[in-house]
Symmetry: C2
DNA sequence: CATATTCAATATGTATACAAGAAGTACGCA
DNA sequence: TGCGTACTTCTTGTATACATATTGAATATG
């Protein structure tokens, strides 16, 4: 079964990049990975080319492969662009979805909900990723899909970056996200394009708020350092 | 300088696909192309992977490379999606363009205008392609750029498909397009985002109308087949 | 001591030989 | 003649050896 080795390599690298097991900007060692996946450098390089084409990696001539980086500029652009693409994809998905795609979506949501219940961050991230990828496929629009795939890569990585396993607020948010998924499935099944678009934007807001709260947390209480009434005087 | 062979191959294949020298759906012969460009199959395959990643080709396992097809479904999606992406890219380009990019844009427009004057369809198509690609780069948005690149591939190919060299109406349209390019450059230079977006949509309408008139031409005059006054009776 | 410069070590790029798979052809049989 | 099957041929995929490029360290030189 050598056939699957290359496919496995591709999938595993995707997973490791999405879960930050390999960090943004890290460079990949051809020889080491070839040995790890028991394939020669030739097919590994083809995997690299594909991952680069999909936006997971960047290739520099004579300088190997790097995981796509996530600088401030990239993040700014991400927050600027995501709602536009997500909302339009959502609309089209409601209109063009097929029954088979709907079944796949439901199954992935079952897996996502299970991951939420078990508090398995990695499974949550990957199932959420596939969930939104399937909605993208439902839209049957190759042009927007090219954007969406790239957005989802960064969205999943940001989600992992900002995920705090122990926080009660986080658990509530994740549960809320799961419920929104359910609502989206129902609306897509009913082909209610407007509703799906609205739900998608709410879903986006939830996700964005979660990330924002991580970057800009509530300030520490001032009075623990014995300022007493001084709080109002500042 | 063997270094350029692979690059040449990549560029030449792009050009031949964009100008329809290789038709949509055609499959590419590895051995023949390797010989043509004087490279071995290994680097040629890497070129294939890159072109596939960019949307020029599709790769099927054990079945080689095909030029991306242009069926009715693809065209429908194209007309549906292009204005959204073009308008948003235009806005961002006006805001984020650098002086260096503006210079490049001006130079490409000079080449485009020259091609129009000389009625060289191929040079027109390729320079127009690069013109809009540069505007895309000005937007500094990798997500939308992924969509734009794919849209431009199909836009350029459709333009070639529907181009009628001899038609006076066509010549007028192409001249108009060139003038719109000039106006866009001026507005981008002035960072007038709203104006650039408007001009871009006008530019899009012109292009769309040109293609539409090709598909749905004016009907033949009825009276040449000697119906005489019968015209009004039909 | 700082800065070039050369050479070794390492990593990337290419060619070629071989393996595996797909497609076409000829033959046999009903 | 129609269909199926084995065999041949052509195409695609992989491994490996070799060529080229880059990096880093050691040495020379101002």
């Amino acid at each position: 079964m050598k056939i699957t080795r290359k496919q496995d390599c591709l999938e595993d690298l995707k997973h490791r990049i999405l879960t930050l097991a390999i960090q943004p900007g890290a460079d990949l060692d051809e020889a080491a990975l070839a040995e790890r996946y028991e394939i020669s450098r030739t097919p590994l390089r083809e995997v690299f080319q594909r991952l680069a084409g999909a936006g997971f990696l960047t290739l520099a001539d004579n300088r190997g492969a790097k995981v796509a980086s996530m600088g401030l500029g990239v993040m700014r652009t991400f927050f600027q662009t995501a709602p536009l693409i997500y909302a339009n994809i959502a609309r089209l998905a409601a209109e063009h979805r097929t029954p088979a795609q709907l079944d796949r979506l439901k199954n992935v949501q079952i897996a996502f909900a299970a991951a939420v219940a078990a508090q398995e961050a990695e499974a949550m991230a990957l199932n959420n990723h596939v969930f939104h990828e399937i909605i993208g496929e439902m839209a049957h629009n190759t042009y927007l899909m090219a954007s969406l795939r790239r957005l989802l890569i960064d969205h999943t990585r940001l989600g992992q970056m900002f995920y705090r396993p122990a926080s009660p607020a986080e658990n509530a948010a994740v549960l809320m996200a799961s419920q929104q998924h359910e609502a989206m499935i129902a609306a897509i099944a009913a082909q209610e394009a407007g509703i799906v678009a609205d739900l998608t934007l709410q879903h986006w807001d939830l996700s964005r708020d979660r990330m924002e709260r991580f970057v800009r947390p509530d300030p520490l209480p001032l009075d623990v350092i014995e300022f007493g009434e001084a709080r109002d005087a500042v």
